[in-house]
Amino acid sequence: MRKYFIFLLLFFFQLIGCQSEGGPSPQEAVAAPVSQASAQTQGNELDVRLPLEQQSVRFAVIGDSGTGDRPQYEVAQQMELYRQKVGFDFVLMLGDNIYGGHRPKDFLNKFERPYKPLLDAGVKFYAVLGNHDDPNDERLYKPFNMNGERYYTFRKGDVSFFALDRTYMDPNQLEWVEQNLKSSKSKWKISYFHHPLYSDGKSHGPDLDLRARLAPLFKQYGVKAVFSGHEHVYERLKPEDNIYYFILGNSAKLMTHDFKSSQQMEKALDTEQGFMLVEISGDRLHYQTISRRGETVDSGKVEQQSRSSVAAAQAQ
């Protein structure tokens, strides 16, 4: 009888959300893969705003994710729920993948455990380095798919990805960026790195020196979308030179009320953690940004101008 009473009491506390502020222990999070946040989504139909076309390229994006705290686990749970529906098979990691130390238990608690369902499903992670990352251990850590390099490129369908190391943008890397962008024949060119070129965040703001170096290359060689983290918010900016800039530095960390007023901001979120889904098919890139509670906070599409339409526009 006493055992029954204690069980009821524990159940009651769980129900009213009487949980510690410090986030779950990793064991808790794994043992209970559907938390309150994800249960909310599970009760309803998932809100998927991607077309889910055949043979499209689908991926997720996370940034500043490696805290090991509860929000990271909750975002990860949402990602798994959406993966089951959307079927993305890789994730871009925008840096600050492992905060704090880089001991084996940090890799476990801040990457392997939260994303275990995704990893078990064969989802690949493609990381870039942030200022909190270890430039040696992370590039050598196979699950980050950096193949021992600080910067690299890979291709999925007709999309080429250029993963850059903003923490150390030396002349060698700048030359590599230009050569690889120039030689890429992909219809879509997407770059991602930690520090944003444009940002309305109050904490850090844009990296002007980096922008002066990279933005002209992106324009010249037809990069269409750029993803960055560092600022612990979500922001979609008005396109600059027809390039779409997204900031997603809130996949675990969060800086609340961190925006300054701006003309260049299209959509922003600084009150909740989240991640992004992207689907690219033909001339269209669709995006959907989802909070850790499963709410869609932004969605839309980017159209790639075909060569013939550009030629037609120029002719007019």
């Binding site: 084996p104 251990d137 590039r139 990296d207 020196d209």
Partner: protein, 188 residues
Amino acid sequence: MLLRSIIGSGICMLLASGNLLSQTGENQKQDPILKDFEARVNNYLELRKKEAGSPPRPTNSADKLAQNRSQMAGKVREVRSEAKQGDIFTPEIANYFRHQTSASLSGPNGNKIRASLHHAEPVDGVALKVNEPYPQGMPLQSIPPTLLSTLPRLPKELQYRIVGSNLALHDTASNLIVDFISNAIPTP
């Protein structure tokens, strides 16, 4: 007078752009200070390779990563137990670096570089010691690309790191501070 001033400004701008001496290989090879720096860097890497072997390959095991680093750092620290500040950054080389950073920060891109430094979460309060590890868990301040472009290129095993007003030479595989220059980054 005006002509002299224009020529003077032009020379300052070229120096500030940093590409006169540091980046285009030929000049770098000809400058004795830079040749000396390059030789010292190469000596370090040869010593490291001889004592600690080649850098490890990618692995799935975080335990293995920690083990590899610890082994490499242990061997390098042992063989360089007498290392001291100035072994790589001799006074002449340190002066060259200070000149480069100063010219960059006071040049036409100075404000942008300073803004970029601020953007990259400055790291302060770390007491650097030669042949000691960079503190675990401490972020690495990103260096603005314009500033990096004014410094001599390094082999990929090594990176420059700004820590407070100091410029360190960081061996990323062993996580050791190879050497550093005090007060290399002038305050505004």
